[in-house]
Symmetry: C2
Subunit: 212 residues, 2 copies
């Protein structure tokens, strides 16, 4: 991950939450509003659909110099020449993913507890995702919420930059950053916002005010 | 695909049909009975489970010098160093898959009609899967059955070796080969057989009697 990679406002997509708007449209508005990095997450699409969507998003995001990260599917990341891959504990093992993607791509890993962070500390990963910070309706297969205390504990333990995810919105974004996170990741706070550009801009302002 | 690759008795796995036995056990018995190539197909496993199963199968099949083909997931094929990948019309586009896998790996493509075969003829694919030959309960998202007439028409049109799949069992295997197929692919005829070794052996004998 280059020193210029900005994890501060990290959008994770979910087409089911886009209120009927196209994913590309919502993501582009969000980027205009200040999103700094985008993760494409597709759990139900065919490989062909996922690939075609990834290619379109990659082209659009390149115009804004915003990196595209692919969730789970290393083949889709390779096929669209994404900037990186985000993996969870149920996805490919990190060392396998790094070997296949090479050192030039960003790889992020979701961690849920101290043991996950300690394992991640042994690896040259680019960032960790602290998941979930708060309870959320967006993802139902998650571990217990970490809370602010968990964010403090795990960011202190981690040697890597950390992004919090799960139940984050403008009212709690600042305290997550003050607890030690380098960035906040959101899904519904932007995907389901009536005005994704404005929602991203509001979060972006909160980030500026709470920068470490 | 090396000239030694034998497509004649092609097993496609389905864990749901293995009657509670482990996939590795059923596949190993089937290979002992005469299966010449194995495709690992997992539509519900996490990437981690798929990867770990693929690594175990690859190790076991290497002992028998039987190639392992991964269904759809090019990342899993790379991660376990499989012998090849099988893609359908809803998976990664063939040219993208070939570029990522290189010329040394086997790539097969499912075709359902003349247009698919004509497109496949333009590519350096290793084999086509004619799908479905007959109606089947195993896969529910299929095109109309080709029948023997379809097998004759599409194998005559194809420049690539062809494997028939869908509703194949000992009573109809011979006529599919006589209609022009180079091999038969089965799922439940072996996965759900009380004795997978014996089931494979019976099909293997039919193949020998109907070789072109």
């Amino acid at each position: 991950m280059g020193p210029q990679t900005n994890l501060s406002l990290y959008l994770v997509t979910d087409r089911r939450l886009s209120l009927g708007r196209s994913l590309e449209q919502v993501v582009e508005e969000a980027v205009r509003g200040g999103v700094t990095i985008v993760q494409l997450r597709e759990k139900e699409a065919s490989s062909r659909e996922f690939y075609e969507l990834a290619v379109r998003l990659k082209q659009m995001l390149a115009l804004y110099k915003v990196p595209l990260i692919i969730n789970d599917r290393l083949d889709i990341a390779l096929a669209c020449d994404a900037d990186g891959l985000h993996i969870g504990q149920e996805d490919l093992p990190y060392p396998v993913a790094r070997q296949l993607l090479g050192r030039d791509k960003i790889i992020g890993l979701s961690v849920e507890n101290r043991a996950d962070v300690e394992e991640a500390n042994l690896w040259d990963i680019d960032y960790i995702g602290l998941s979930p910070v708060f309870t959320t309706d967006t993802k139902t297969d998650t571990a217990p919420a970490l809370g602010l205390e968990g964010v403090r504990e795990l960011t202190a333990l981690s040697v890597h930059p950390a992004v919090g995810i799960g139940g984050i919105h403008p009212q709690n974004a600042g305290e997550i950053l003050r607890a030690g996170a380098n960035g906040i990741a959101v899904v519904s706070a932007i995907m389901s916002a009536p005005d994704p550009c404005k929602a991203a801009n509001e979060l972006s302002e909160i980030i500026k005010q709470n920068k470490k």
